[in-house]
């Protein structure tokens, strides 16, 4: 009973639907003062909806929100902020064409307070008079967080703040979160990374299909949380390392070969090869040349030097269409870059086929439907809201971005952080799909910001540091410690020392 009264935030039976899609059925959440509380759930479980209801972005259809024992309904995020409830949303709420300082003024927070917060996050050197669009995504997340901290919140909601952050920056966020907990603030923390939830959070509330299914202390409860999140279908999708390709086919010509590739300041001479049937992982901290590498191979940017070859043939791309034709296809990090938000799943999946002039004419509708349905089935895409892509959950959108290439056909799939902000269940589906694709003879180049994924999904890994390859290892040896050392450029020195 005493614990009940301790709740600074008490949410009871909150429900919300958008047209025909039910986002929340009955969500309960009790957060104590001075705790870090994890809000867990698969994609589409309703976490982000709940955050937006708490902060007054839109109203709940039913249910109560009690703050400090008092019923409250906020009509806008500004009202919530005045009550000390501040959120950092999944997509940065920042106007790209304004400077950082102007963005802060929009939110009516003092620049001095923002600077103090930025110092605590180690980004105080960012020039506030620069346009937000010139600042990289990870730094922007930290600035967004600084803005939230500057209004001195009692309850801070962090929705996937670490999803796009490399380990070193995430650590800074954790330190700040712990510091605020010590000061008595409550933090609601949403993340799909189980390890950081276990390390950072005191308790966790788990949502499944819009209903609160349990509350637990996080210490040593990872497996329990995953089981609650996934419900019954838990063990089905597990990917075992044993399914990995037997690396006997090394004699085959590489599906993709890159030699001395350089581009701008980011990429300074990288060489590697991907065999048919291989999943090659790429690991790196933020901004070590991985964007440039993927863009060059996908024909989005032109390299300054070096060579790209597919099946032994050197290639020169002037447009992504050239790369697609050569079978090198990209799943970009940002889903919004890949998809048509107002169009149905079917048109999104079929899109690349119309890149060729000969397909501008009448569409063979039956054939198209068959292809699309096949891809949708293989990826287990939830098609309930299929008429407009923007109504799908993030995980399903990501699946559509991959499904399109299954339908169009490819040789090498270039996946740039495909599991960013995606729940455990969907991640496993994507890993097993990548493996399946490889077993059928295609190749995969996979960059991931989550280091444990390398062992789960890849055969071999390369690590980039400062635009060059700083380490290469079989996936079995690619534990986090080793990857991290290489990602900080430490492995070469290591090898020299032992020699």
């Amino acid at each position: 009973m005493a614990a009940e009264q301790d709740s600074i935030l008490d949410i009871r039976g909150v429900a919300k639907r958008f047209d025909s899609v039910v986002a929340l059925r009955s969500a309960d959440l009790k957060v104590r003062a001075g705790e870090v509380h994890a809000l867990m759930g698969a994609n589409g479980a309703g976490k982000s909806t709940l955050v937006k209801i708490i902060t007054g972005v839109f109203p709940a259809d039913s249910g109560d929100i009690l703050i400090g024992g008092e019923r409250k309904v906020f009509r806008s995020p500004a009202e919530a902020r005045q009550a000390g409830i501040v959120s950092v949303y999944q997509d940065p709420a920042i106007v790209p064409d304004l400077t950082v300082a102007q963005n802060m003024r929009l939110a009516r927070v003092g620049l001095d307070a923002v600077r103090t917060a930025m110092r605590s996050l180690g980004v105080e050197r960012v020039d506030l008079s620069r346009a937000a669009r010139e600042i990289d995504f990870a730094t922007l997340r930290l600035i967004d967080l600084s803005r939230a901290l500057a209004s001195n919140p009692r309850i801070l909601l962090l929705d996937e703040i670490t999803a796009a952050l490399p380990i070193d920056l995430a650590e800074r966020v954790f330190a700040v979160v712990r510091d605020w907990r010590k000061r008595g603030a409550s933090i609601i923390f949403i993340s799909h990374r189980m390890a950081e939830v276990a390390a950072l959070c005191d308790r966790a509330t788990v949502l499944r299909d819009g209903v609160t299914v349990g509350v637990t202390a996080t210490q040593g409860a990872e497996e329990k949380i995953v089981n609650m999140m996934l419900g019954t279908e838990v063990a089905k999708a597990a990917v075992s390392g044993a399914a990995r390709a037997k690396q006997t086919a090394s004699a085959a010509a590489p599906a993709l070969e890159v030699r001395d590739l350089a581009c701008g300041h980011g990429l300074r001479g990288v060489s590697f090869a991907v065999r048919p049937g291989e999943v090659l992982g790429v690991a790196a901290l933020e901004g070590q040349g991985q964007e440039e590498l993927f863009d060059c191979i996908a024909g989005v940017r032109r390299p300054d030097a070096g060579e790209i070859a597919a099946d032994g043939k050197p290639l020169r791309f002037r447009h992504p269409a050239d790369a697609v034709r050569a079978g090198l296809v990209l799943v970009p990090a940002n889903r919004l870059q890949a998809l048509l938000p107002q169009r149905p799943i079917r048109e999104n999946v079929a899109l690349p086929i119309f890149g060729r002039l000969k397909n501008w004419g009448p569409i063979a509708m039956k054939d198209e439907r068959r292809r699309v349905e096949e891809a949708v089935r293989r990826l287990q895409i939830d098609t309930r809201a299929s008429s407009e892509l923007k109504r799908l959950s993030g995980g399903n959108q990501q699946k559509v971005a991959i499904a399109r290439w299954l339908a169009a056909g490819f040789r090498v799939l270039l996946c740039f952080d495909p599991t960013r902000g995606i729940d455990v269940g969907t991640k496993r589906q994507i890993y097993s799909l990548l493996r399946e694709v490889a077993q059928q003879g295609a190749s995969v180049l996979l960059f991931t910001s989550e280091l444990p994924e390398i062992r789960l999904a890849c055969d071999r890994a390369i690590v980039l540091f400062g635009g060059r390859i700083s380490g290469e290892m079989p996936a079995d040896d690619a534990d986090e410690a080793r990857l991290l050392r290489a990602a900080h450029g430490l492995i070469a020195a290591d090898a020299e020392a032992t020699a």
Binding site: A298, V300, H319, P320, A321, A323, V324, R325, V329, L330, P332, L336, Q337, A338, L339, L340, P341, Q342, R343, E347, A350, L351, P352, I353, F354, G355, L357, N359, W360, G361, P362, I363, M365, R404
Partner: protein, 313 residues
Amino acid sequence: MSAVLQFLKARTIVALILLLALFLIGIELVRPGTVTPLWASNALLFAAPLAIMGAGQTLVMLTGGIDLSVASVATGAAYLLATNASSGDFSAIALALALGLVVGAVNGVGVALLRVQPLIMTLGTGLMTGGAMIVYSQQMLASQPHVPAIIQTLGAGKIFSLVPVDLFLWIAVGALMLYGLNRTGFGRLIFAVGDNREACHLAGIRVWRVLFVDYLLCALFAAIAGLVLVGGTNAADLSLADSYLLPSVACVIIGGTSIFGGRGGYSGTIVGALILTALTSLLTLLDVAEPLKQILYGAIILSLAAAYARLTE
């Protein structure tokens, strides 16, 4: 009530048809006995050139663009036809359509390759076309313009004094538009480019090709509409299609095509063109002064667009 709203939201075309019916009832109330088969036949006759121009406008607005040169192109095509009729029907018509292709190609190059804002680009080419036509007309003072008989039949003729001939052209254009937008690769690309240009680029689509053909087709439709218009008036002057510029955009917006692109279609534009024709007819019947008529026309179009935006939100 909310069930009705839900239904209308799901089928906006039904809402549009209801609106059209409302205008027809309004006309009947203002002057009972007006809405007859003959009246309907005349309304279709006048709506056809607008709807054909609206077809091109739909194509460019679906990609998030706009074409403000359509009125100048229609006028120019009509004028070229009339002044060259003496050299044979076929070559006069070919010359008129060629003007559309030339202006459309220039628009296409500007918008697709040089990445000029469609509004600025087509405003510019529209002015240039209009200017060129004035220069051309001054050289042509001596000749005797006339509209070929076949075009007069197209623009003013009726079968059994009831079914307008241009209705058949409209039906052909409509069938082509509906089929093209929904069942061809090019149609898919128009929606896709309007929805997310970057996504198309990354998916290996050469966006400029889509936009180029799009503006080419739009100007071609405008030239065809110009021929239908001049067939109806039987007099080519240099302000023939001026009053069609705003309606060509308005009928697309009323028809539910998003000005930001990616959403909409031609069936809405068809009903939009009919609604605008009925509105003009209603205002004429009300017998108000021309300035007041313009104010009412503009206000009604604005409120329709606003109501529609609510419905499709």
